[in-house]
């Protein structure tokens, strides 16, 4: 199946197409891209796209009602919805330090949910 993508590696923003091609060295044929990094990006986008997720969680006893959080690394893109559901039901108590782990090993990815500020 052919997919159209916009490369985000550099400001060029190449519009490219990618489709499976068993004869190609990496198993995919990428057209419209102008560099190697872009090709790698495109292949990753179709094989195992990942995103870092940032959000907030409820916090009790702090100066603000919400604590900003993020995943310590990128998580599979298709897990974002589930991850938001976990984040939405989380509530933490003041004080929290920046970098403090709030949820461990999300979806067995070795990625944690961490506080992104002290509050």
């Amino acid at each position: 199946m052919k997919r159209d993508l916009i490369c985000i590696v550099c400001p060029m923003g190449c519009r490219c197409s990618i489709e499976e091609d068993t004869s190609a060295p990496k198993g995919y044929k990428v057209t419209g891209i102008t560099c190697k990094r872009g090709e790698d990006y495109a292949i990753k986008e179709v094989t195992e796209p990942t995103r870092m997720l940032t959000s907030t969680v409820r916090i009790e006893g702090a100066r603000l009602p919400r604590l900003p959080v993020r995943t310590s690394g990128a998580i599979p893109k298709e897990r974002i919805g589930e991850c938001m559901a976990l984040i939405n039901q989380l509530q933490v108590r003041h004080p929290v330090a920046m970098g403090q782990v709030l949820l461990k090993n999300l979806f067995d990815t070795n990625v944690n949910l961490i506080a992104s500020r002290s509050l």
């Binding site: 907030t56 969680v57 039901q89 989380l90 509530q91």
Partner: protein, 484 residues
């Protein structure tokens, strides 16, 4: 049972309420919206007219000149910004001169003081930004500018200080006659009153028709305006009119008492009293018309635009007086321009009518004509600033950066009589959100302060009327909390 119920919290209703509070009468002012000064009063040209427009012998002519003369005292007593900046009417060609001279003649008949016809060059000498086409101008030194909503709010506050009662969010849905007066059916509780004063502005025909056969119709006429940053506030120092047309006084350019520049309005009859939206075509026509007076207004400095509705009666003149078939029911309707100017005089006149009806009630011995002074923190000298902050630390916290408004002033505006209960209400009284950033920075803080002072959740703070919800909920609310 109230002696008097005033329907409508515009500048007319509020000034009548204040005038009545000089006497020992039980007065109630009701307003359908969540704040006073929320209709025509908040969206008009803010001009105190000299009085050369109205035909001699009309109520408009009479009350315009009388009202104008009362402004210094009323605004002085209520500490409302008012300035006699003088006005000019421009003629752009020989063909407009007869109309200009006609205005001058009418002005003299109406008793307008100090009118002067000046040459185009003289006009440009006094106002360097006027168009080169101006051939002659009529100068009226008594023309002025005022903050209409400040006047209405101050009058209501002072009236409440002196014993008037007020009920917001109270819309009249029907009126019944009772033996010694009227029963008003409202969206709140029913109200009984010996005398009813109909100051319902755009809705005054509907209110009139609840007790009497239709005698007039109000046609809302929309006017659209541009408001400019203070950087343009000195573009003109006088209020600049063009020769009037059958549609009104035309587009004016005027400084405002708050230091901004105001350009507008056009005039367009609209379907109903809800049509306060601006239109691309309307604003373009305002801009085009104004360029005739002054071609070099910097439209890049516009900070907002708005539309207001004039309550134009089909009778051509103000409708003021007791309705024959409804004793004790007084219409004060069709108060279009120069209604703001006429308001203080109308208030005195209506109060006289009421006193007569009520058999000359005694004077209110506790009446004071002034209200507790407002603190304009940014205008205070350094030592006074420190003193205020020491007394109340909230004056040391500036919430609105553009207009330098402190938290102390916002809290005061909420807790005064006739105080603000909405974001627009705070804005109208203090101007946060009216500066360059239009509320970008201070909006969230104002919501927070309103919630705290009114003891309601932030999600219940409104912009204006009950349906103008600002925040639709809290994040994370759909899920049960799990403590980590």
């Amino acid at each position: 049972m109230f002696d008097i119920t005033i329907i409508g919290g515009g500048v007319i209703g509020c000034l009548i309420g204040r005038e009545l509070s000089r006497y020992r009468v039980k007065t109630l002012l009701i307003e359908k919206d969540s704040d006073i000064a929320n209709g025509t009063t908040k969206a008009n040209s803010a001009i105190v007219h000299a009085g050369f427009d109205a035909k001699p012998g009309t109520l408009k002519g009479k009350f315009n000149v009388e009202g104008n003369a009362l402004y210094d005292r009323v605004c002085g007593e209520l500490s409302v910004p008012f300035k006699r900046n003088g006005s000019m009417v421009l003629a752009f060609s020989e063909s407009e001169l007869p109309e200009l001279y006609n205005l001058e003649k009418r002005g003299r008949q109406n008793g307008v003081p100090g009118l002067e016809l000046i040459s185009g060059d003289e006009a440009r000498r006094r106002e360097p930004h006027l168009a080169k086409e101006v051939v002659e101008a009529l100068y009226a030194p008594t023309g002025g500018i005022v903050s209409p909503w400040d006047l209405a709010i101050a009058a209501a506050e002072n009236a409440i200080d002196n014993g008037m009662e007020m009920s917001l969010d109270t819309e009249v849905t029907g009126i019944e006659r009772i033996p010694d007066g009227y029963r008003l059916i409202t969206t709140g509780t029913a109200i009984e009153s010996r005398i009813v004063i109909n100051c319902a502005g755009l809705h005054s025909d509907r209110i009139h028709n609840m007790v009497a056969t239709p005698a007039f119709k109000i046609i809302p006429r929309r006017g659209e305006y541009f408001v400019f940053d203070r950087s343009e506030g000195n573009h003109v120092s006088h209020t600049i009119f063009q020769c009037p047309t059958p549609n009104g006084k035309g587009v004016l350019i005027s400084p405002s008492v708050h230091g901004n520049l105001l350009v507008g309005p056009n005039a367009e009859a609209v379907q109903d009293a809800e049509h306060t939206e601006t239109t691309a075509a309307g604003l373009a026509s305002v801009r085009e018309a104004a360029s005739k007076s002054s071609p070099d207004v910097a439209y890049s400095a516009v900070i907002t635009s708005f539309a207001g509705l004039r309550a134009t009666p089909d009778t051509g003149d103000f409708i003021i007086g007791e309705v024959k078939e409804a004793p004790g029911f007084i219409d004060v309707a069709g108060i279009e321009s120069p209604g703001l100017t006429a308001a203080p005089a109308i208030a005195i006149h209506v109060t006289e009518l009421v006193r007569e009806r009520l058999g000359n009630p005694a004077a209110n011995p506790e009446f004071t004509p002034t209200r507790r002074p407002m603190v304009h923190f940014s205008h205070l000298p350094a030592e006074a600033k420190s003193a205020w902050i020491q007394k109340d630390p909230r004056f040391g916290r500036i919430v609105c950066r553009c207009e330098s408004i402190t938290e102390g002033e916002i809290v005061d505006a909420i807790h005064r009589n006739a105080g603000a209960r909405t974001v627009d209400g705070v804005k109208r009284r203090l101007r946060p959100g009216m500066g360059r950033c239009q509320g970008g920075f201070c909006g969230p803080r104002v919501v927070e302060i309103l919630a705290r002072e009114l003891n309601i959740p932030m999600t219940e703070v409104r912009k204006d009327r009950p349906a103008s919800v600002l925040l639709t909920g809290v994040t994370k609310s759909a899920s049960e909390a799990v403590i980590a």
